[in-house]
Amino acid sequence: MKKYQLGEFEEVVILTIGVLYKDAYGVSIRKEIESRLSRNVSMGALHTALVRLEDKGYIKSFDGEATEERMGRPKKYFQITALGKRAMEYTKDTRNDLWRAIPKMALNPKIAEL
């Protein structure tokens, strides 16, 4: 079994939370992903990912202020937990391991054709 479960989109979300640091809430995360990765993110996908990350214990949330713009609804800020950090590192390490394991030739199309 895998040690840390972290899907591709979940990874993007948790990384973005890290990027935003103290200002990570629904809208800001969405905008950040959309601007950085130039991909469309729906509220549904984002919040499902957030719920799942929180369920897994990779992030934690706390209620923030309620602005006028939000018609008085509170913000919910997210923060990466220690477990979340380990999961991110683990994912990153496995990726790096894989990168390293690829023979140089494989990525060089000219050589590979020979």
């Binding site: 549904g44 919040h47 719920v51 309620a66 006028e68 913000k75």
Partner: protein, 887 residues
């Protein structure tokens, strides 16, 4: 100030509806914030579309609130825990639970069985449209002794005049049950069919009037509902019957086919009707048209113009018009019957269709009837048995409740209310009741099978019928509430401060009083049943062992074929007399004691004109010696070819005013206006069952009627001798009556049949007794188990201080013995009253004396002591060390 916009409200509402409440607020905030930003960046339309797409994409499993609730605002989890805790408790207290479940299972099983029987009996003929307007005509004939006899089969002319003269009826139909051999007029069909419901004597072939189909509605599959029976010599069949006759022939081809009844009456099919699906007493299958009565063949059999009692054949059904009343019609009947008073003194009246199934008083009733009082007493018994089981439950649970006092205390401290505690204990009761119901329902079929002889065939439990489901739910709910209510009240009343400190619940007197009261109640009920079964078995023994006044042992009854020649009968008589193993043979009309001996009227000379209702027994000169009837004065009948003289019984002699039997000798008796001398007086013997008193009786020699042989054997106990004797009698029979089959009965067997219904009462009461005793005993067992557990320390200390085992057993038992004695005092008068009521049905019965109650009391005491002592001896034998060590 900046202006903010609301997105499309409908979608926002939709979102709020489906979203998990925990997520709802901040996601909504995100949506609104994003929407407003989109609004300023790309305009309203763009923002709206994006908003709607977002909402639709949010509609996914992670976001939608779960169906079964999310916050435990309801008691879902609590109820789940009740069941869990309840089940653990049941599993922990295995013995108590078993006792409770056993009792409840018996109670529920009994009530379901009895429900099944009652609902079956009450379901007869309740599906007819306008059934409250349908009546059956009953005719009453009053006998000279004042007895009113009810007949359902009436003179055919009564039906015909009713048709024309009864105002206020919509339809009147005549119905003549007709038993016949049935053949189908087809070359390749040699099958013969029965015209009865298989295994019974209820006829399914009837000669019916067209209007029958106006009273009782059928679905017509073929033929004309209003004319099918108008055609000459026609017959209407039910679908099932038609397929029996003609196999899978299509309906339209069946029409016109011919059926032959008794090889003589040929009729053709004019209609096929669908069988009724409900239970009915009128399960006729062949309806022959009324005009068949005009055929020569039936004219010889059924005298359709006669008013005489002997020719009464016709069942009459009437359907009143909307405004007709049965009283008005009853009055009209008088006008019809009065002109024929010289032939028959008949009072006709209407009996409602709903009463038909329960009227057991009709003579020669062509339908099976149910006995309503029996049904009611069955229901009563069911309720009693269930009640006993419930009492057990209450007893045991309150007794056990102290052990759970701590649990209640903790629960209360943690904030449980009394309501929810009661609810918890009710859930436990509910669990037990459910287990018991399931077991009880499983037992129903075996029980019904066991009591097959008791109940009509075709009864089984239909679990999926709505009524059954409602009944079962009711039983479960009522049982749960009755048995769980009080214990839950007691348990939830404990005060946490007291019960947690270890003081336990109040052990005040009142609770013990209640428990004792319940035990007394239980034992009173069982004692009533015990007394009942003792009295019934004594009475039945009495009827079997009491001197009938004649000897019925080893007498074989052989009936010669109806209408045999006198000469043949006497020849058989003489032949059989010669067979070794046969001690004597008498010719008789009927045996001395039979079920339905009807009276003949006799006048005698001295007090002229005074008619006496006298039972007449006819036999030849061998009759009195064969039955060993004691002659008090005069002599036996002499051999004769015709009726010449009378032998009378003591009772008749006394009625004639003779002080001594001898005085009656030589007096003249008039019968059919001819005088006959009395030549002998015999001691009274029972000519009817013990339900009736001995009536005045005469024994006469009427050779024309004596077609039955009474054969006295030397012994019927030796099987091989019996076989050879029987074979010899049979060979003599087949020589003289080669065409007829040899049939015989033993007289004492048929005498026992006279008490069949009493036997059944006995079985019923015995079974109920067994069940009530069992339930009471397991209840007592449980309570003893509890007391000896509670008092184990006390017992140990007593033992250390020198009490013997006997002392302790007595100490533990004497309280219960006292309770049983109190129960005996309560039950005896009740049982006395009930059993006297029952005994009143017998003209000759035992007297209930103290010995019955002593027997009942002693047996229940023995049972109590056995039940109690098992536990108390066990308690007394345990080593004190084991019980005191924990201190």
């Amino acid at each position: 100030m900046k202006q903010y916009y609301w997105p499309p409200k409908l979608f926002l509402r939709f979102f709020r509806w489906f979203c998990h409440p925990k997520l709802r607020d901040h996601i909504e905030g995100d949506l609104l914030e994003y929407y407003n930003q989109q609004m300023t960046e790309s305009g309203k339309i763009r923002a709206d579309i994006n908003f709607i797409v977002d909402i639709l994409l949010l509609f996914r499993p992670g976001i939608i609130k779960p169906a079964e609730g999310y916050k435990n605002l309801d008691n879902y989890g609590m109820i789940k825990s009740y069941f869990k805790i309840g089940w653990r408790n049941i599993a922990r207290q295995k013995l108590y639970s078993t006792i409770n479940v056993m009792g409840l299972t018996l109670g529920i099983c009994a009530s379901v069985v009895i429900y099944t029987i009652s609902s079956y009996e009450l379901s007869f003929d309740i599906f007819h449209p306008d059934r409250e307007r349908i009546y059956r005509v009953i005719g009453d004939i009053t006998e000279s002794n004042g007895d009113k006899l009810h007949f359902s089969r009436l003179p055919i002319p009564l039906f015909q005049s009713a048709r024309t003269q009864l105002v206020g009826t919509e339809a009147i139909a005549g119905l003549i049950p007709y038993e016949a051999k049935i053949k189908i007029n087809e070359v390749n069909n040699a099958n013969e069919f029965e015209s009865r419901i298989t295994g019974t004597h209820y006829v399914t072939t009837v000669i019916a009037d067209q209007q029958y189909f106006e009273i009782f509605k059928y679905e017509w599959l073929a033929g004309n509902a209003t004319q099918a029976l108008q055609a000459p010599l026609s017959v209407v069949l039910t679908e099932s019957r038609a397929s029996k006759y003609f196999g899978s022939l299509p309906l339209d081809k069946i029409i016109g086919k011919q059926i032959v009844y008794d090889d003589s009456l040929t009729v053709s099919v004019t209609g096929v009707i669908k069988d009724w699906s409900g239970n009915t007493d009128l399960a006729f299958t062949d309806f022959i048209s009324f005009n068949a009565l005009q055929t020569d063949f039936l004219k010889n059999r059924i005298n359709s113009g006669s008013w005489k009692q002997g020719d009464m054949a016709c069942w009459i059904f009437a359907k009143l018009s909307e405004y007709g009343t049965s009283q008005a019609v009853n009055a009209l009947f008088e006008k019809i019957t009065k002109p024929h008073a010289s032939e028959i003194k008949l009072t006709a009246w209407l009996e409602s269709l709903s009463g038909m199934h329960f009227n057991a008083n009709v003579i020669e009733n062509p339908i099976r009837t149910a006995h309503l009082p029996t049904l009611y007493s069955l229901m009563g018994i069911a309720i009693f048995i269930l009640l006993l089981a419930i009492i057990n439950f209450v007893n045991l649970s309150t007794a056990q409740s102290i052990q759970r006092a701590k649990e209640v205390g903790v629960r209360k401290v943690l904030g449980s209310s009394r309501m929810s505690l009661s609810f918890q204990f009710l859930t436990e009761t509910f669990l037990l009741t459910m287990i018991a119901s399931l077991l009880g329902i499983l037992l129903v079929d075996p029980v019904l099978n066991e009591f097959k002889s008791f109940i009509p065939t075709g009864i089984s439990l239909h679990l999926l019928k709505p009524q059954t489901i409602i009944f079962l739910t009711l039983v479960v709910l009522v049982t749960t509430l009755l048995s769980g209510f009080y214990p839950s009240l007691v348990l939830s009343s404990y005060r946490p401060a007291l019960s947690l400190r270890g003081v336990g619940a109040k052990t005040g007197n009142e609770k013990w009083m209640l428990r004792k009261g319940l035990i007394v109640l239980q034992f009173s009920v069982s004692l009533v049943f015990i007394t009942g079964s003792i009295v019934i078995s004594k009475q039945l023994n009495y009827t079997q062992e009491k001197d009938f006044g004649f000897n019925a042992d080893a007498i074989m009854i052989v009936e010669t074929p109806w209408g045999s020649q006198r000469e043949k009968i006497t020849r058989l008589d003489e032949r059989v007399k010669l067979i070794p193993g046969v001690s004597n043979v008498a010719l008789q009309w009927v045996a001395p004691m039979v079920l339905n001996g009807r009276g003949r009227y006799i006048k005698f000379k001295s007090t002229d004109e005074k008619a006496i209702d006298v039972t007449q027994v006819a036999g030849n000169e061998d009759f009195i010696p064969l039955y060993q009837i004691k002659i008090l004065a005069g002599r036996n009948l002499a051999h004769a070819d015709s009726l010449k003289e009378f032998v009378i019984n003591e009772k008749l002699a006394r009625l004639m005013g003779c002080k001594k039997p001898e005085d009656a000798l030589g007096r003249m008796l008039y019968w059919d206006n001819k005088p006959y001398p009395v030549v002998g007086v015999v001691a009274d013997f029972h000519s009817r069952s013990f339900h009736e008193i001995i009536s005045p009786l005469c024994i006469v020699n009427r050779p024309d009627r004596e077609g039955t042989l009474a054969i006295k054997l030397f012994s019927k106990s030796n099987q091989s001798d019996l076989k050879t004797t029987l074979a010899r009698i049979e060979s003599a029979w087949s020589e003289i009556f080669p065409a007829a089959t040899f049939q015989y009965t033993f007289y004492d067997d048929s005498l026992a049949l006279m008490y069949e219904s009493d036997q059944r009462t006995a079985t019923l009461v015995n079974t109920s007794t067994a069940i009530t005793i069992f339930i009471s005993c397991i209840g007592l067992f449980g309570v003893t188990l509890f007391t000896s557990e509670k008092r184990s320390k006390e017992i140990s200390i007593r033992k250390i201080l020198g009490a013997s085992i006997a002392n302790i057993v007595i100490m533990l038992s004497k309280g219960f013995v006292l309770l049983v004695i109190i129960a005996l005092l309560i039950a005896s008068p009740v049982a006395m009253y009930l059993m006297n009521q029952w005994l009143q049905k017998f003209a000759y019965h035992i007297n209930i004396n103290w010995s019955v109650f002593v027997l009942a009391g002693v047996s229940s005491l023995v049972l109590t002591i056995i039940t109690v002592s098992y536990q108390s001896i066990k308690a007394a034998l345990t080593s004190p060390v084991n019980n005191l060590r924990s201190e």
